[in-house]
Structure formats: structure tokens, C-alpha cells
């Protein structure tokens, strides 16, 4: 799929979804999902299990048709699914040959470099490689096809902690070199710090929040202080937690107004990505937000 998408303010859009909906036997896995993902970003698609992340990625990859609305990506899309599938009887070299044969653009050296980096033997059948090694073969295939948009579904699952860090670093290196757009889904928020600069938050098949990560975080503030029913400053309460004599509020600041100064017993701090995501997800579960 290669729909030409141009945003209103001139920045190039890599992925666009408009009122996207996808249904499985009457149950909506995805509904009214609208967002624009600017080109060149590393976007995190976050949500609880069953939030619709995989469905969204599969639709964006063109493997599944939408039931409502539309979705499109600019240029060529590569998709690495959650199970990191490889042909068990193919060697890693065969998998790269498959990539060269079935893609109109193929960068053999880039793919081989990825495999060499993670010390994957080229000549043994993929079925004999470990799960983590199979995942590397799947990544090499996706990287070698030089996509404009790379969709990674739970890319770091079944990798060891060291490999996670290395894969993340290599991935960011590829993004720097090629300027591709990456959309990666995860439900482990801790993996995202320092990786993603854009956030798409899904809950129950609906887009809860989306946007530049820095803007989202600076638009919110976390207050901790004595037990109280209201936060010390104006703004929409995203989450309120009370434990013993202490209350914690995550508040969305009113737009276009300076950050309020709080004093006295209240402590103010910028929320972390994890704070923000968990608060949003918690809010949907309680039926407060969204």
C-alpha cells in the first residue's frame, strides 16, 4: 500500500489512520482509531493485552482489511509479527534470499550486517536456532528490505535483557541512517524510555492518547501531598491515588497556560512515561477517562 499522505502543516506523514475500525465476529478489536504518525519518528504503540495493538499493526501492514475507515502508510512497509516467524527448513541465508526475491528493494549488506552483529550462523536451518536467534533473522529480513515504515509487534519479547538493549541500539542506528519510520508495539512500558519519541496509547480498541512524547509529558504534572480530594492546582485529573495520609494526582495542565506553582506540603514533578501510561490505562479501567 502506498497512499500519498500529506499533513496540513507540511510535516510529512508516514502513517495515517482515519476512523479505523476492525471487527472479529461482531466484537470490535479496533474502533474509531484516528492518528497521523509523522515520518522519521520512532513511535510506541502501547496498550494492555488485547487492546488492539496487533490488529492495528496487521491492518497497517496491509495483511488485513479494515471494516471501517481507512489506514495507509507512505511507501513500503515491513512488518515483523509477534511470533517472529521464519521458515524452519530455510537457513538464515535462505531467508535473506527470500527477502531479495520477494522485495523490490533489497539491501543485502545491511541484512547480513544485522545477522553478523548478533552472531547468527548463516548456514544452519532456522528451525535449529533459538527463539531469540530466529527473531534476529526476522529483524534482518525486515531491515534488509529497506522499508519506509517498519512495524514491529512486541519486538523485544523473547529476547534476553542484553539483546534487548543491543537490538534497541541497532534499531535506532538504522533509523538514523535510513530515516525510516518505526512503529513498535509493547506492553512493557519500561522498555520504551530513550527509544520512542512518539506515543500511541490504545485501550479497548480505541485510541486513548497520541502525540509527541515530550509534549504529552510536559503537558502533564504529578502532585504528591497530604490526603485531599482535589489537586492543588487547576487541570483535568487523569488519575487520583490515595494511600493512608497521602494523595497523588496526575493532572493534565490547561493548554496555553503557564505551569502553576504549588507550595506548602505539595511536591510537584514531571511524570515519567511509565507514570503517564499507567495512569491513562488505569483511568480507562475505572471508566473515568477517554
Amino acid at each position: 500500500m502506498s497512499t500519498a499522505v500529506e499533513s496540513v502543516d507540511g510535516t510529512a506523514i508516514a502513517v495515517r489512520a482515519q476512523a479505523l475500525g476492525k471487527r472479529y465476529r461482531g466484537r470490535w478489536a479496533l474502533r474509531e482509531c484516528t492518528f497521523d504518525l509523522p515520518a522519521g519518528r520512532v513511535a510506541a504503540l502501547v496498550g494492555a493485552n488485547g487492546a488492539g495493538k496487533t490488529t492495528l499493526m496487521t491492518v497497517l501492514a496491509g495483511l488485513l482489511g479494515a471494516d471501517e475507515g481507512s489506514a495507509g502508510a507512505v511507501g513500503r512497509v515491513a512488518f515483523v509479527s509477534q511470533d517472529k516467524p521464519v521458515y524452519r527448513h530455510f537457513t538464515a541465508a535462505d531467508m535473506l534470499r527470500l527477502g531479495a526475491r520477494l522485495n523490490v528493494v533489497w539491501d543485502e549488506s545491511r541484512a547480513r550486517r544485522w545477522l553478523a552483529r548478533f552472531e547468527i550462523p548463516l548456514d544452519s536451518a532456522c528451525g535449529r536456532l533459538s527463539g531469540g536467534q530466529q527473531a534476529q533473522v526476522a529483524f534482518a529480513l525486515a531491515i534488509g528490505s529497506r522499508p519506509d515504515v517498519l512495524l514491529l509487534d512486541e519486538p523485544l519479547a523473547n529476547l534476553d535483557p542484553l539483546a534487548r538493549r543491543e537490538v534497541t541500539a541497532e534499531l535506532l542506528g538504522e533509523v538514523d541512517e535510513t530515516g525510516m519510520t518505526v512503529l513498535l508495539s509493547t506492553h512493557i512500558v519500561a522498555e520504551l524510555s530513550g527509544v520512542a519519541d512518539y506515543l500511541l496509547l490504545l485501550a479497548h480498541g480505541r485510541l486513548l492518547a497520541g502525540g509527541d512524547l515530550d509534549e504529552l509529558l510536559t503537558g502533564h504534572v504529578s502532585y504528591t501531598g497530604p490526603r485531599s480530594d482535589v489537586p492543588p492546582a487547576l487541570g483535568d485529573i487523569v488519575e487520583a491515588r490515595h494511600s493512608g495520609a497521602q494523595s497523588t494526582f496526575l493532572v493534565r495542565l490547561p493548554e496555553g497556560q503557564p505551569r502553576p506553582v504549588v507550595a506548602g506540603p505539595w511536591v510537584e514533578r514531571p511524570p515519567t512515561l511509565e507514570d503517564y501510561v499507567l495512569a491513562q490505562l488505569e483511568a480507562t479501567r475505572k471508566g473515568l477517562g477517554a
Binding site: S2, Y24, T58, A61, G62, L63, L64, G65, G75, R76, A78, F79, S81, D83, P85, V86, Y87, R88, H89, F90, D94, R97, L98, G99, A100, R101, L102, N103, V104, V105, W106, D107, E108, S109, R110, R113, A138, L141, S145, R146, D148, E177, T178
Partner: protein, 330 residues
């Protein structure tokens, strides 16, 4: 859609082209299915060699004895002529039935269809690149066995062991074999795409293939065309109606003077001896009849049978493509 080579690290140039070609699909098909293709081809080539070798030896010596010790050509030949009936089944169960389901089971359809190729183009590649060789193997197998049957018939003077309208000879004809192979392949593929389970689709393919073949062969084939009725007095009835003259008798019985089919006259139940029997029938005004197909209907019948199965195959293929393109889940 531009990609430029950047950095010194990229030694090999980035290859770019406009589309994925048939050569690429052929590479993939061969790489994935080479053992299935080679195995089937090997067995078919073996049977063809055996059949042609026997045909050649029978032609040269004019006899059907001698080879394989106490076995006679005829008995070996009678085993070989059963293989065309099985070939379509093998193609269905081992070529068609695993084709899409194995990809789903191992989730590799996400690999194949996630590259610069759509699911339907991938499927079209597989159908053509596996279906055409399968049909060619079927035709070759049938041709070799027809050759063998003709050779054995030619030297057997007292009777013809292989009768054209009988199942082995009728179904070995290349035009019929191609139809069976196409039907088997398409049936396996249809189950493969819809069930997404290899073993299940293999089982369903075998079951339905046998059922459809049996229904067409036993229930429909005798009536592809209205049979010709031949009526005679019972005692004059001495023609070899078993088909050795190339005709195919599909039904026989008794008719009264007006030509209506009647049950065997009970008056003649107790009669002993052929002569008495014939006289009894003549006295009650009953004659014997046979419904048969003349020998020149053989090829039209084979073409019609082939058309039935080719049409079924085409329908199943259309269904499969539609199913894959409109997939509701991955």
C-alpha cells in the same frame, strides 16, 4: 519510493526493481516444495519407466510372460494401472492440502505476504508453478499406462485384458488424468485455505476426492449421454456384451412386445436348460435388451469427465482466491 545507498559499510549495492517476477516465485516454490516435487516425480518416473519398459518388451517379443519370474506381465500391469486412480489423490493430499495451512500453522504467511507481494499474487504463483507440473505428471503417467495397456491388448488374441470403457483404461487417459489432478490440487488447496489445518485438510481432501470421484464414475458417467438400446430374442443373444468389442453396456433386462421394461417373467422361473428357457421367454413375448454406449463415445466421454473435474477445480480455485483475499483474520 526511493532508497539511496548510504555509508561506506554498504559494499553490495542496494538492488531495486519494479516488481517481483515469476522467477522469484519459482525460486520460492522450488525451495519450499522441492522434496515433495522430487519425491512425486521420482515415483511417477519409476512407474512410467516400468510401464514403457513392459510395453517395449511386449511389443518386441509378442508375449506377456517371462519377466519377474513367476509374475506375469499382466499381473504387474494390473497393479500399475491402479496408479492413475491414486495420482490425483496424492496431488490433493500432499501438494494442495498443506500449501496454505502449513504457512498459517507456522505463521510464515506473515513472512511471505509481508514482503512486496500480495497474498493473491503469492497464491497465483504457487497454483501455476505447482499445478502445471502436477497436471503434466498426471498426463505423463496416464499416457505411459495407456501405451502399456495397448501393447498388452495387441498381443493377447483370445480376449482383451484392458477394456477401453473399464475404469483403469478410461481413467488413465491423459485428458482425464489432467482433470483429476487439477481437481485434487484445487480441493486440497481450498480446504487448506479455509481450515488452516494441514492434517484436517489432508483428511477432508482424501474423503471428498474419493466421494466425488466415486459418485461421478458410478452414478453419472453411465449417463453422460442416453445409452443406445439393443433388443433381441434371448436365444439370438450371443454377442459379447461385456465390452470387448469396445462398447460399454450399462444396463440390461427384459422388455415386452411394446418395448416396456418388464421384470423377469415368473412363468419361466422353473424352466430348466438354456433352450427351454429361451422358448419360454419367446412364448411369453419377452425379449432381452441391453443399454450400451458405442465405442466411438469413448473420447467424448473422457473429455466430458475431464470437463466436470476441471470445472470443479476452477470453482474451488476461485473460492480459494476469494477466501484468501477477504481474510477476516490473520
Amino acid at each position: 519510493m526511493t532508497a539511496t545507498t548510504t555509508g561506506v559499510a554498504t559494499a553490495a549495492p542496494v538492488t531495486e526493481r519494479t516488481r517481483v517476477g515469476w522467477g522469484d516465485l519459482a525460486w520460492l516454490t522450488w525451495r519450499q516444495h522441492r522434496w515433495t516435487i522430487l519425491g512425486t516425480t521420482l515415483v511417477v518416473v519409476g512407474i512410467v519407466a516400468l510401464a514403457l519398459g513392459m510395453a517395449w518388451h511386449v511389443d518386441a517379443t509378442g508375449r506377456t510372460h517371462e519377466l519377474f519370474g513367476r509374475w506375469r506381465y499382466l499381473s504387474v500391469g494390473q497393479v500399475l494401472v491402479l496408479t492413475p486412480a491414486l495420482f490425483g489423490l496424492v496431488v490433493g493430499a500432499f501438494w494442495g492440502a498443506p500449501l496454505v495451512s502449513r504457512e498459517h500453522e507456522q505463521r510464515t504467511h506473515l513472512v511471505a505476504w509481508g514482503q512486496d507481494i500480495t497474498a493473491t499474487r503469492w497464491l497465483a504463483g504457487k497454483v501455476v508453478l505447482l499445478g502445471v507440473p502436477a497436471a503434466a505428471l498426471a498426463a505423463g503417467l496416464g499416457l505411459a499406462l495407456i501405451t502399456m495397456m495397448n501393447s498388452i491388448n495387441a498381443v493377447t488374441t483370445d480376449y482383451a485384458p484392458f477394456v477401453p470403457f473399464d475404469v483403469p483404461a478410461f481413467e488413465a487417459a491423459p485428458q482425464v488424468q489432467v482433470g483429476y489432478a487439477a481437481f485434487g490440487f484445487a480441493l486440497g488447496l481450498a480446504f487448506s485455505a479455509t481450515t488452516r489445518r494441514t492434517v484436517l485438510s489432508m483428511g477432508l481432501t482424501v474423503g471428498l476426492f474419493v466421494a466425488v470421484r466415486a459418485v461421478v464414475a458410478a452414478g453419472w458417467r453411465p449417463y453422460f449421454q442416453a445409452p443406445v438400446r439393443f433388443v433381441e430374442e434371448y436365444d439370438e443373444f450371443d454377442r459379447p456384451w461385456s465390452g470387448h468389442d469396445g462398447t460399454w453396456s450399462v444396463h440390461g433386462g427384459f422388455v415386452d412386445g411394446a418395448g416396456n421394461e418388464v421384470p423377469f417373467p415368473s412363468a419361466c422361473d422353473q424352466v430348466q436348460g438354456i433352450g427351454e428357457y429361451a422358448r419360454c421367454l419367446k412364448e411369453t413375448g419377452v425379449r432381452y435388451f441391453v443399454d450400451h454406449h458405442p465405442a466411438d463415445r469413448l473420447v467424448p466421454f473422457q473429455l466430458f469427465e475431464s470437463t466436470i473435474f476441471t470445472a470443479l477445480a476452477a470453482g474451488l480455485l476461485a473460492l480459494t482466491f476469494l477466501w484468501v483475499r477477504r481474510a477476516r483474520r490473520v
